[in-house]
């Protein structure tokens, strides 16, 4: 018996996964976030390769569940979700259009991730532009916010506290 899985193209499967939102940042899909690295059509189903954002990200189990659920809802009976750590996930994988969605949602998008630069201790980080009024006059309040991937800032111009998706 031929599974329905093979009747989908890779692009169609990606489109299905693009409907799956990140549980913590529901304005972005798991594809836009770069968590979905690959989708392969196998003889008896579909294999999705995901790369976790943070080692301890509590949303990963929910994301894997949501991915399998979305594909099953489209008739793919056998869904395998495989985890790959190489290369490590980076915010650089978030495309420009998705960054704009973040900003419109009120989260400052990540700057470029330079994970080879020397670690700076006791240095002020460059101010993050306010996603609400666009002012560069903002202050970092906490390097950690409601989730590990976000920092908390406050805007000196419009007085609005806001979150920043940290570059990693």
């Amino acid at each position: 018996m031929v599974s329905r899985a093979v009747s989908f193209t890779r692009a169609e499967l990606m489109a299905v996964l693009d409907e799956v939102k990140d549980p913590e940042v529901p304005v972005l899909s798991v594809v836009e976030l770069g968590v979905v690295r690959d989708v392969e059509v196998l003889d008896d189903g579909v294999r999705v390769t995901v790369t976790p954002t943070y080692s301890g990200c509590p949303a990963m189990a929910a994301i894997e569940h949501d991915i399998a659920h979305a594909l099953r809802a489209h008739g793919v009976a056998n869904v395998q979700v495989r985890t790959s750590y190489l290369p490590a996930w980076t915010t650089d994988w978030i495309p420009a259009a998705a960054r704009e969605k973040l900003r419109a949602y009120g989260i400052a998008p990540p700057g470029p991730a330079d994970h080879e630069a020397p670690v700076q201790i006791g240095r002020r980080r460059a101010a993050v532009r306010c996603p609400f009024c666009g002012s560069p006059h903002t202050q970092l309040r906490s390097e950690f916010g409601s989730t590990a991937c976000k920092a908390i800032h406050v805007c000196d111009e419009c007085r609005q506290p806001f979150e920043e998706f940290k570059a990693i």
């Binding site: 943070y54 080692s55 301890g56 750590y85 309040r141 390097e143």
Partner: protein
């Protein structure tokens, strides 16, 4: 290890298992210690920060212990390794199991460990074991902001009030004798270094010292003089504190083996 197989063919597997336990146990035990601050940190932002860093460490431990379990013949998984081993089978260094102390002790310990983790994960990105190098890439990114977070606090406490300075100095004085163990190497590690899987821990001491001494100096903290470095964790000889930590961490799985929710 009671489960160690003495045949020659099993040695690489046993070495890998031991090495991954060391890496994983350091992070599991420190992550658990750090989680004790949840709801108790001095300010809300710090409460969130410490809980997030604890989550990173436990997440890293989960990856490392899963890798250890996958390579073991015993059929255990990461949960079994975390929740059913006794203290004598834990391979973490002593530094990470010490009580959390006051906030200065926590900051100093995080800084001393994170600087080591940064150099270690950087080197392990080149490991011939691609599962380990992948995890190391992740750990390296996380160690970068762990160093930044604890390093910033070293400066704040060292340059803050007389009270914060005195507490940080006392913390560094107390913890210093536990730092040497992070740079010890042994036959297990050397065999894996030869196989290009592990990093020689003794080579991590120089980059660690460069960074740590620089921050201590900036924070106005005197570097302690030490005549004897404590050791034993890598061989399962722990302080009395680890047993208490495990009693709390393991109680549910010990009372209800295999329980899930």
């Amino acid at each position: 290890m009671s489960r160690a197989d003495s045949s020659a063919a099993a040695q690489p597997r046993n070495d890998n298992f031991q090495y991954l336990l060391r890496l994983g146990d350091d992070r599991l035990v420190l992550g658990h210690r750090l989680s004790e601050w949840c709801g108790h940190a001095p300010i809300l932002e710090e409460d969130i920060a410490l809980a997030n860093i604890a989550l990173d460490l436990v997440g890293e431990a989960n990856l490392l212990l899963t890798l250890a379990a996958n390579g073991e013949a015993g059929g255990r998984d990461a949960d079994a390794l975390a929740y059913t081993r006794d203290a004598i089978d834990y391979r973490n260094c002593l530094l990470v199991e010490l009580p959390r102390g006051d906030f200065a002790v926590t900051v100093a310990r995080q800084f001393l460990f994170s600087c080591h983790a940064l150099a270690q994960s950087d080197a392990l990105r080149q490991s011939a074991n691609t599962d380990l190098s992948g995890i190391a890439g992740k750990m390296h990114k996380e160690a970068r902001y762990h160093v930044r977070h604890s390093g910033d606090w070293m400066l704040r406490l060292g340059l803050g009030t007389d009270e914060s300075h005195a507490r940080l100095q006392a913390a560094v004085d107390d913890l210093w004798r536990y730092t040497g163990e992070m740079f010890l190497t042994d036959e297990v590690e050397q065999r894996l270094v030869a196989a290009k899987i592990a990093v020689d821990s003794s080579t991590l001491e120089d980059p660690w010292k460069t960074r740590v001494l620089d921050v201590l100096k900036q924070a106005g903290i005197t570097t302690p003089e030490v005549v004897w470095m404590q050791r034993g964790g890598r061989m399962g000889r722990h302080t009395e504190h680890l047993g208490h930590l495990l009693a709390e961490m393991q109680v549910l799985q010990r009372q209800h083996p295999g329980a899930t929710w």
